[in-house]
């Protein structure tokens, strides 16, 4: 017991654990009853203008839009890293593939632009039509990268994926005739929705700035919708044979294979699913900023994505969303701030050194809470709830009337 920490005694019950057990004991409708207002509150944050929470240096709506994209990325990366236990250091590559797919199909600078006269993408629906294409292409790139490399394990896989991330960026940088090289691709399509007199280009247009209900807020809401859809699908996978196979592979790959899990097949699925979610996020990004350049897809972004997952709690879907929030929000919180609670600070410099602070935070976390802020307790059975509810009821009864049980 002493030489193997994983055999350590049961963890102490904390606030999170008691909340989790309370939550798990609620019926599905009750969970929705509590969940929906909470989601609404989160969604309304950028227009509620909460005094301390709202950022001062940048537009809060824009920050939340970025958070939405990072949350999607974190969910996708969590499938690969958190659930299947495959360390992927080149995840930004998939993000880039998604963004460039949309950009190449809709930017006027691109040789493959389809929005002009004779193109098959009508400009009103161009972005939405590109979404499934972007997901498909990134999934394909995940499959392509995964099929030779997933025979590797551990550190070797990490190195190969790191290389992939760089290859994608260098391709974007050097294929000037196609991607425009360092100049990038501009005027990428976005959803033309809500075009009125006031907003001739629609509410999602980057020109919709300044007001409370600016384009950032709209993108944030769009990403919340996508996050909920993705979470439902990923949750279904987690509570199925697929999720169990992933966790089994993470725990002991050899034992999993001997127990009949086709390990390679499910690792490839994890990679492909993770990639397509990353591609979806990339497509969102391309639409929001309407401008794609290679410098947005540096390796350091990969590390930042991974940081969100590890910080929030590998394997915990809500945890990694929290991680994404921290990664995006904290630097922007300090940006342009000169004092907190009356203490004068140099917020801009703090935001500037975000990599330093995140590195420090990761080190501290690894020492004191290696499982992340919200540790994982996956539910891997579709119909497993009733058993947990029965266990809770039983324990409740015993606590109430311990004398009877000893009989």
């Amino acid at each position: 017991m002493t030489n193997n920490p994983s055999f350590d005694a049961r963890p102490k019950a904390g606030v999170g654990d008691s909340f989790r057990s309370w939550w798990n004991a609620q019926s599905r409708p009750m969970q929705w009853l509590f969940g929906v207002p909470f989601i609404l509150l989160i969604a309304l944050l950028p227009i509620l203008n909460v005094p301390v929470l709202t950022t001062v240096g940048t537009n809060f709506g824009g920050v939340m839009a970025q958070f939405g994209m990072y949350a999607l990325i974190a969910i996708g990366l969590n499938v690969v890293v958190g659930q299947a236990g495959l360390l992927d250091l080149g995840y930004v590559g998939f993000y880039a593939v998604g963004a460039y797919t949309v950009a190449l199909l809709t930017s006027p600078n691109s040789p493959w632009n389809q929005t002009g006269p004779g193109g098959w993408l009508s400009s009103d629906w161009a972005w939405l039509a590109c979404l499934p294409i972007a997901i498909l292409i990134t999934a394909l790139s995940g499959l392509l990268l995964g099929s030779p490399t997933l025979r590797l394990r551990g550190d070797y896989l990490a190195i190969v994926t790191l290389g992939f991330g760089e290859i994608v960026r260098l391709l974007a940088d050097n294929l000037e005739e196609i991607t425009g090289g360092g100049r990038g691709l501009s005027q990428v399509a976005y959803p033309r929705f809500g075009t009125t007199e006031e907003f001739p280009l629609g509410v999602f247009s980057a020109g919709n700035v300044g007001k409370t209900l600016n384009s950032g807020v709209w993108w944030y809401w769009l990403s919340i919708v996508l996050i909920i859809i993705v979470l439902l699908f990923v949750g279904n996978l987690e509570r199925s044979r697929v999720g169990r196979a992933w966790v089994a592979i993470r725990e002991d790959e050899d034992a999993a294979e001997i127990m009949g899990v086709p390990t390679f097949k499910f690792k490839l699925w994890a990679f492909t699913i993770g990639a397509s979610i990353g591609g979806l996020s990339g497509a969102l990004y391309a639409g929001q900023v309407q401008f794609v350049v290679p410098t947005n897809f540096n390796v350091v972004n990969s590390v930042l994505f991974l940081c969100a997952v590890v910080l929030g709690g590998q394997g915990n879907k809500l945890g990694v969303i929290l991680g994404a929030f921290i990664i995006v929000y904290l630097p922007n919180f300090f940006l342009g701030r000169t004092e907190i609670l009356g203490i004068p600070i140099d917020g801009d410099s703090i935001a500037e050194y975000k990599y330093f602070f995140f590195g420090l935070a990761l080190m501290v976390l690894m020492i004191f809470r290696p499982q992340g802020l919200l540790p994982v307790r996956q539910k891997l059975l579709t119909y497993g709830r009733e058993l947990f509810v029965a266990a809770r009821r039983r324990q409740h009864d015993e606590a109430a009337a311990p004398v009877e049980v000893t009989k």
Partner: protein, 334 residues
Amino acid sequence: MSRDSESPHDPGGIEAGAEVGEEYRSTSEDAFDHPVGPMILDEAVPVDVTDVAPELADPEVVAEIVAPTREIETEVGEPLVELEGVTVKFGGLTALDSVTFTIRRGEILGLIGPNGAGKTTCFNAMTGVYRPTSGTVTFDGHVMAKLKRNQITRLGIARTFQNVRLFGEMTALENVVVGTDARHRTSVPGATFRLPRHRHEERDAIDRGLALLEFVGIGARATEKARNLPYGDQRRLEIARALATEPKLLCLDEPAAGFNPAEKVALMDLIRKIRSDGYTVLLIEHDMRLVMGVTDRIVVLEFGKKIAEGVPAEIRDNPAVIAAYLGVPDDASA
């Protein structure tokens, strides 16, 4: 290493058969080993499986659900596995030297031998992990080709490990359900959209998983993480997980390692119970009392050769076996 985690809960293992029902009722008292108050409810709370599946209170129903349902070509009593002159060479080393024996369907066969005798090599050759240098292995009427390990399991050979290898972060029930997944056909599309077949398989998996946990006697621990289980229960869970794949042949690799005498007796009962439920068992074991007590026939290997085969009483008196295990005086061997 996990020996310390052996807890006072396990009263020398589980009484087989009719007393399974009694077993988890008694473990409900274990709640008092844990601190009362705000504890992690999801784990560490003994559950009464009959709360969810009342029919499991009847051991006969449990045995019926656990019994294999798959088609086996071989008749009961006929050879399920046949090794015909199997030789395995690693470079110049002959690990297995033209070994011939059969495992009949429905029996418990013991495979014994001193350390390094070739038991594991024999096992690997039998399951297709190694391709024999010469000779053939026939399993359920088909010659074994080289297969991936997960395909071997699907084919119908399941095993437990000498050193327990459970999925520690999963609950006991989830571990067993991973085993049942070997027979499932749902993949990503079915699971993503929760198609009918997926839902059907999930229900089945949980029913069978709970029955299996009851069968090996750890139903009360269904919702506990595998790594928190006492050592003896971990070994039982491994057996349940292997049975979940509905094997035609169940291989137990030293299942009694680290057990005390009382636990060994309970394990023998469990192995017999598994056999009478319709499984064929191959037992690789060092402990002579266990092997003699539970097997129908025994094959003895030494230095890669089969030196004896027969019922336990014959093996016990076989001079070659005694020599292999105890050594022979120099003058006697001359």
